[in-house]
């Protein structure tokens, strides 16, 4: 239940010999230190890959928006402009670090820190594959919900500490938007938890299958609507258009990050792009079957049966296939998120709140009730299973 990448790696004899070599070198039982090293390296890899994803996300956004608007987009820096985000990063680091004279110095520094820490801490439970999940906590989904609310606090503090009218208003609106949309998101996740029977991502993804009719999104009509509610809520949680009023260029100059320059702004932006990836990943894991590969390729059984490969190697290959499946689904949803930004007009703030409290929350409650009743009435079988019998 409480798997982690360490328990996955400890299956392999290479890891055991590594631990025993370290123990003999250091004189005491080095299992703890080996665990720390493995976690450190894994976290380092994950953070770097996701920072890269965040950076490429800015590039992808510009290219996709250019495509939608029939223009070129960045194409100077590197082949097809792919190194544009590196150029942006260098630019941001070398900009002067201004702070408004009346700004609250401590909160001004803490705000991007809270956003970044909140987003990075959610990476610990993201189900990349059945072996590569950093740690599959028993409380996975619940923990993720909690830590991602730190971003709201960070946005509010960013707006407040800048001591500028635009920032303050943007920060207040951003914080109230994020906390409001947490309610339908929580209710949609609850609907899936009812069907999945656990809070850990391993349980929830394990309750789904590889083929689309085995995913939760097509399980029953209530989860389909729950997916849409969750997706809209996720758009609002990460301040993406059409819910980007807190950072609206045409309304509030730049909202809560008006007064932030250089790398401090860079961290707000990085946190936002990584958060979009995380929320798309959660949507993929909960609704689209997560890391499950069609035809059971992910467990390695196929390879063992057909090519007579050893089970350990087959499961490793299967894990990579699962990783590919998860990443594909997440990036597909990421594309849809970017697509939404450049298609829909921005919502007015009172419309935003009305949508959340008067539409999404009642719909999410009805979904939850429907899923619970479905679970009891049909014993948790999906619509396809009831109709087609398999």
């Amino acid at each position: 239940m409480n798997d982690s990448i360490v328990s996955y790696l400890s299956q392999f004899p290479a890891y055991k010999s590594f631990v025993s070599a370290m123990s003999s070198a250091m004189g005491f039982d080095a299992a703890g230190i080996a665990t720390l090293l493995v976690f450190f390296v894994a976290c380092f890899v994950v953070v770097n890959v996701l920072a890269l994803v965040g950076g490429l996300g800015t590039y992808a956004e510009r290219k996709i928006s250019a495509d939608i608007q029939m223009r070129q987009g960045p194409n100077r820096v590197g082949p097809y402009g792919i190194l544009q985000f590196l150029a942006d990063g260098v630019k941001m680091i070398s900009k002067e670090d201004l702070m408004p004279r009346n700004a609250d110095k401590f909160l001004y520094t803490v705000a991007p820190l809270l956003c970044l820490v909140g987003v990075l801490a959610t990476l610990a439970v993201l189900p990349f594959s059945s072996g590569f999940t950093l740690t599959d906590l028993n409380i996975g989904v619940f923990y993720l919900l909690g830590v991602s609310s730190l971003v709201g606090v960070g946005i509010f503090l960013g707006g407040y500490s800048s001591n500028s009218k635009w920032s303050m208003l943007g920060g207040m609106r951003g914080a109230s938007q994020i906390i409001s949309y947490e309610v339908p998101v929580t209710l949609s996740i609850l609907a899936i938890v009812v069907l999945g029977g656990g809070l850990s991502f391993g349980t929830l993804v394990g309750a789904q299958g590889g083929l689309p009719h085995e995913w939760f999104v097509l399980h029953n009509p209530f989860t389909f609507v729950a997916f849409i509610v969750f997706f809209i809520g996720a758009l609002a949680e990460s301040n993406r258009a059409p819910f980007d009023l807190p950072e609206a260029e045409s309304e509030l100059v730049s909202g809560y990050h008006t007064e932030y320059t250089g790398m401090r702004f860079g961290f707000f932006a990085l946190a936002e792009y990584i958060e979009v990836f995380v929320l798309c990943g959660v949507a993929a894991a909960l609704f689209l079957g997560g890391y499950k590969v069609p035809f059971n390729l992910g467990t390695g059984e196929f390879l063992v049966n057909t090519l007579n490969v050893g089970p350990l190697l087959a499961s490793k290959v299967g894990n990579f296939l699962q990783l590919g499946s998860f990443v594909t689904k997440t990036l597909l949803l990421y594309y849809v998120v970017i697509w939404c930004r450049w298609t829909f007009p921005r919502l007015r703030v009172d419309h935003l709140m009305v949508i959340c409290w008067k539409y999404l929350t009642p719909i999410a409650l009805v979904n939850l009730v429907g899923c619970a009743v479905w679970m009891w009435a049909f014993n948790g079988q999906s619509l396809f299973k009831i109709v087609f019998g398999h």
Binding site: E96, V117, S176, G197, M353, P362
Partner: protein, 146 residues
């Protein structure tokens, strides 16, 4: 699976410390390579090219606070519902699903009543419609504008 070690929580601590290190590391690198010429103009807040007028926050609206209040009640209800939702499947398998369902639905119906009450009394409206002047619970600048 049960164990005595909290090693599963190690990535959380490591990732949070990465966040802190990343931020301060980038700021440190920046301090070394970025210019530092503060002047009066650069350090004033931006107000579309004009000089900033007045304090930054003079017109607080209580609706932000109301939204936060309603949110926290629903958040606690959600937190209470998570364990029940997690065990619902197990109870369903042993045949006691009906009773758990009724418990669950009772809980949700009370929550729904709260939402309906707030809706009907106009607490969920972003722009309240009043006839006549309004006195808020706190300050005096409580208009219906922003």
């Amino acid at each position: 699976m049960s164990s005595h070690s909290l090693d599963v929580y190690m990535p959380i601590v490591i990732l949070m410390s990465f966040g802190v290190v990343m931020l301060f590391g980038a700021l440190l690198v920046g301090k070394l390579i970025r210019p530092n010429n503060p002047n009066q103009l650069k350090q004033t807040e931006y107000e579309c090219g004009e000089e900033p007028v007045g304090v930054a926050w003079s017109n607080f609206n209580v609706r932000f606070y109301l939204v936060a209040l309603i949110f926290i009640i629903f958040d606690v209800e959600g937190a209470l519902m998570f364990p029940v939702a997690a065990v619902f499947k197990k109870f369903n398998e042993i045949g006691e699903g009906g009773i758990v369902l009724i418990t669950f639905l009772l809980f949700i119906s009370v929550l729904l009543e709260g939402l309906v009450y707030c809706w009907k009394k106009g607490d969920l409206d972003w722009i309240r419609s009043f006839q006549g002047p309004v006195t808020g619970p706190s300050t005096d600048n409580d208009k219906d504008a922003k």
